[in-house]
């Protein structure tokens, strides 16, 4: 059999840090652990001093509910925190407070569309709250100086985490990628996670198995941990699918185990087998009563949910008639979509005229200078004014790009720049007629050639007029004048 004879089955677990001011169970601020002074945001609770006790962060629950609702989950009126027991230096209590058999959100779904494919529905098993661990930093031995050692930074200890567990509903790495991308987009839309994967605020795990095409039973799965980029997600899953098919083809059996991903070598490697799986000895956290959620609170959170990416995309492409590519780019970042809508509100014409400029020249300038949409100096209504000037013919395409460049640098209004640069198009026939006559008078040879039948020279005359007017002449007017003054060329042939 070949690769085509097998169907991959992928389920995903996504760990997302929530973007709260304080930690999950104490009042310590949540800081950017990649820049903050180590152990500068810690207290008795998140370092597990004897006697310290957890208190649930209400904002974290609210954010977790937002995600649950956005993923079409049921928010359970009663959920229970549980202790997951294991020893590790970055886990100060010797247990992680998580949720186990009674999570906050269950039984949801989202629809995702892989690149070039059909939309698929991915089931969401559950979304539950837990706390992040501290961060261990390992230092190697220096010969004849120090032994290897490890330092622990507790700034991250107790940062709220949401774990989103999918059903094994994905059947290609493209679908896994689409799902991961969609979850990241939703989290960013809700403002509960920055999506900065390089900062580790979003981490993937993929459960991968394969089965003969048409089979209903699941094959033995492996779990690939700590996939910290989309690239790693796709490459590791792809590698694992191929590896498992290879094992089966060779007559072997896939071993249930936990794997790591070696990005440098491009291979998965075994971390622990099923026999050595941790027994986490879950039991209900006696320091926290069951979490009761008033249905009125759920309604309140639901009412405050922003428009989600899929709905926005639908509206942009149908109601606004945007090209699919424009819509996809705009929806990809909530702030960009908001910018577009603000510009559109001040416009009134064809929405795709605005989207073209937002995803085109403006995005080009932003990328060139590494400026985010939040820091762009061009106000949305200034952009719509620029587009209006272009559509009305006050300026031409090149002029508009020029003006936008200045707006981008200075934040000044377009009218001011157009005036200053003298970019207003000359559409006055009398003024342009003099220029056209000048060009004809100065180029008798070209006039002859043209009249002799080389009709394409008309564009050359156009260029001469443009040069003399520094691009401000309105092309249709010039063309009409040239035809009138030059007369008809002899038909070629």
């Amino acid at each position: 059999m070949t690769r085509d004879a097998y169907e991959p089955v992928i389920g995903m677990e996504i760990h997302a840090e929530l973007r709260t001011k304080s930690k999950m169970f104490c009042g310590c601020p949540v800081v950017d652990t990649t820049v903050a002074e180590p152990n500068s945001a810690i207290c008795p609770v998140c370092t597990a001093l004897p006697g310290a006790m957890p208190v649930v962060n209400r904002e974290a629950v609210a954010q977790a509910m937002m995600v649950g609702l956005a993923l079409n989950c049921t928010i359970n009126e009663s959920s229970i925190f549980a202790r997951k027991n294991y020893f590790y230096p970055d886990l100060p209590k010797g247990y992680q407070i998580s949720q186990y058999d009674f999570p906050l959100a269950t039984a949801g779904w989202i629809e995702v569309t892989p690149e070039g494919g059909e939309p698929v529905r991915i089931g969401i098993t559950r979304a539950h709250m837990e706390e992040d661990t501290a961060k261990s930093e390992h230092y190697p031995a220096i010969w004849q100086e120090t032994d290897a050692y490890t330092l622990v930074d507790f700034n991250r200890s107790g940062v709220p985490l949401l774990e989103i567990v999918s059903e094994p509903d994905m059947h290609s790495t493209a679908e896994a990628l689409a799902y991961g991308t969609a979850i990241r987009e939703i989290l960013r839309y809700l403002g509960v996670n920055s999506g900065d994967m390089e900062k580790g605020v979003l981490r993937f795990e993929a459960n991968v198995s394969v089965r003969p095409l048409g089979s209903e039973t699941l094959g033995t799965r492996t779990e690939i941990k700590n996939l910290n980029s989309f690239r790693a997600l796709v490459q590791a899953s792809e590698y694992e699918i191929e590896r498992q098919i290879g094992v089966l083809e060779a007559g072997g059996q896939v071993v249930q185990e936990t794997l790591g991903w070696d990005a440098a070598r491009g291979v998965t490697y075994s971390q622990r087998s099923k026999e050595h799986a941790h027994d986490y000895r879950y039991f209900p956290e006696p320091d926290l009563p069951p979490l009761h959620i008033d249905p009125a609170w759920v309604d309140e959170v639901r009412g405050a949910l922003p428009e989600l990416p899929a709905v926005k995309y639908e509206r942009f492409t149908t109601a606004l008639g945007l090209p699919e590519n424009d819509a996809r780019i705009l929806v990809g970042e909530r702030a960009l979509a908001d910018y577009f809508e603000a510009a559109l509100a001040a416009y009134g014409g064809d929405p795709s005229e605005i989207s073209k400029w937002v995803v085109g020249e403006l995005s080009f300038l932003m990328n060139r200078d590494g400026v985010g949409i939040g820091d762009v100096k061009v106000a949305p209504d200034a952009l719509s004014r620029l587009v209006t000037l272009l559509v009305k013919g006050t300026i031409n395409q090149n002029g508009a790009k020029d003006v936008l460049g200045s707006m981008f640098e200075t934040g000044r209004p377009p009218d001011e720049i157009v005036k200053e640069k003298g970019l207003v198009q000359i559409s006055d026939s009398d003024a342009l007629a003099a220029v056209v006559q000048e060009v004809i008078d100065e180029n008798p040879d070209e006039v002859r050639t043209y009249l002799a039948g080389k009709a394409t020279l008309l564009q050359w005359f156009m260029g001469q007029v443009m040069r003399k007017t520094r691009g401000r002449a309105k092309p249709p007017v010039v063309l009409a004048l040239l035809r009138e003054r030059l007369g008809e060329p002899e038909s070629a042939g």
């Binding site: 370092t47 310290a52 202790r83 006696p286």
Partner: protein
């Protein structure tokens, strides 16, 4: 006048009237400790200088007359499992022998705010695991009534300190009888409040769903006024109740007419020493004389109390004690470099005593995959039955009367090699914790020269009822006034 043997109320009157100062009172208690404690060994740490400074501050507060509470200037000690900012807190364990907390437990900070003066920390069974103080990794504490005997446990030091007048009151902690049992053995009054009545924040946890901080005092009125100060909701402890704290003194009424008392038959069928049985039955007669109606009741699931308690306790304790790993504080072995597994193994091997290791292993087993349903989950289900026993009983009666312990204080060394015998000494006190009720221990006589204790068990948040009954009893009896003659005694 022996200042160290005053009740809180008597001392407060003298302080208020300016007849004595807190510096004098605290000094007297510290002198008493210096004199008596070498024999009793209740204190793990005595904070002499800090106490004298706090006493001076209290005196200034008393002189100004502003914000004076009944506890302002009153010296006390506390079981060494409550975190005290800047004062070593050992849990009587080698693993925490040098641990100094950087924050106060809520109960401690409430006493500080009231102006009480902390004189030191009391010996206990390591992490609260034991009934005799013999499981302390530091030293044994001796019963002031007979230095060859145990003070009870696990809050043995806190009971012995009050019995021997080394503090006007103390705070203990009761997970399965650890306040009541030593109160009974030492002849003092002790309360296990309703779970959640007193914040656990800063209490080094044994079993999080049972742990209750409660006072030891010379009488019920003193115990009630201390409870009133430490009780009440704490935002730092999500399991603390939001119910308002009653004015306990206002609930006292020495006439017990209209009060119905239940005598749980199962508690008297447990092989009680004749001397204990006699004293408790006499006390019940006394309560009847005060007007109470006495009726028999049944708590049919009592026999499951010990297994339920030990399954849930060991499960929770195995998890609670995981933080003692040698990484951040406390004992950390070996000296110098080691890999992390080695550090865990050596630190915990040397840092924990036998009983602690036994319970960690039992609890780890009870929570393990494949055993969780049969042990932990089943224990939780039977716990519900135990709770329902109490609910049904309290539909008929206002409180239950029972012995604290089937025997008086046993000899040091007598049961230490037989853990099961040791566990069974808690048989009368243990059910109150999984049962979710409150219970008061009051002295009710002597058997062969050793104190006997009576329990008054009340429904959840029934502290006003048990205080009223205990206080009425003490109004009619003098057992709580008896003091051991520890002067000049020594123990080798």
């Amino acid at each position: 006048m022996d200042l160290h043997s005053l009740t809180i109320r008597a001392a407060h009157d003298l302080l208020r009237e300016g007849k004595i100062t807190s510096v004098e009172l605290t000094g007297a208690v510290l002198d008493r400790i210096a004199k008596v404690d070498p024999a009793v060994r209740a204190y793990v740490t005595v904070c002499h200088d800090e106490a004298m400074a706090e006493a001076a501050t209290a005196d200034a507060r008393l002189r100004s007359g502003e914000d004076v509470t009944l506890l302002t200037g009153i010296p006390y000690g506390v079981k060494d499992c409550l975190s005290t900012n800047g004062v070593r807190t050992t849990c009587s364990s080698a693993i925490l022998e040098d641990y100094v907390p950087r924050y106060d437990a809520t109960a401690i900070s409430r006493l500080r705010e009231a102006g009480a003066v902390l004189v030191g920390k009391h010996n206990m069974d390591e992490f609260g695991m034991g009934s005799s103080c013999e499981n302390s990794a530091l030293f044994n504490t001796h019963n002031p009534w007979d230095l060859a005997r145990v003070p009870g446990g696990s809050s043995g030091g806190s009971a012995a300190a009050v019995a021997a007048d080394m503090g006007l009151f103390s705070l203990g902690e009761d997970t399965g009888g650890s306040v009541r049992m030593p109160a009974g053995f030492c002849g003092v009054t002790g309360l296990k409040p309703t779970y959640g009545r007193v914040s656990r924040y800063g209490l080094i946890a044994l079993a999080s769903s049972f742990d209750s901080i409660g006072p030891f005092a010379h009488d019920v009125r003193d115990a009630a006024l201390v409870t009133e100060v430490i009780a009440g909701h704490d935002p730092m402890d999500s399991t603390s109740t939001t119910a308002a704290v009653p004015d306990y003194a206002a609930c006292m009424d020495r006439d017990l007419r209209g009060v119905r008392l239940g005598i749980p038959e199962e508690y008297f069928a447990l092989g009680i020493d004749p001397g204990v049985d006699r004293a408790v039955r006499a006390a019940i007669d006394q309560l009847a004389d005060l007007g109470a109606e006495v009726v028999p009741v049944s708590l049919p699931h009592t026999k499951y109390a010990i297994p339920i308690y030990y399954l849930i306790l060991t499960a929770e304790a195995s998890s609670n004690l995981a933080r003692f790993d040698g990484v951040r504080y406390g004992l950390s072995l070996p000296e110098g470099g080691a890999d992390v597994i080695d550090r865990y193994l050596q630190t915990r091997e040397r840092g924990f005593g036998d009983e602690v290791k036994r319970r960690i292993m039992l609890g780890t087993f009870a929570l393990s995959a494949g055993y969780y349903d049969a042990y932990y989950l089943r224990a939780q289900r039977v716990r519900t039955l135990l709770r329902q026993d109490f609910e049904r009983a309290f539909e008929q009666v206002d409180a239950l009367i029972a012995p604290v312990c089937p025997t008086t204080a046993f000899k040091i060394g007598e049961k230490i090699d037989d853990p099961l015998q040791m566990y069974l000494s808690d048989i009368h006190v243990v059910a109150a914790n999984p049962g979710g009720v409150c219970a008061l221990a009051v002295p009710c006589g002597f058997s062969e020269g050793l104190p006997v204790g009576m329990q008054v068990i009340g429904p959840p948040l029934g502290e006003p009822t048990v205080f009223r009954i205990g206080d009425a009893y003490q109004g009619a009896t003098e057992w709580h006034l008896a003091r051991p003659g520890v002067e000049g005694m020594s123990y080798d």
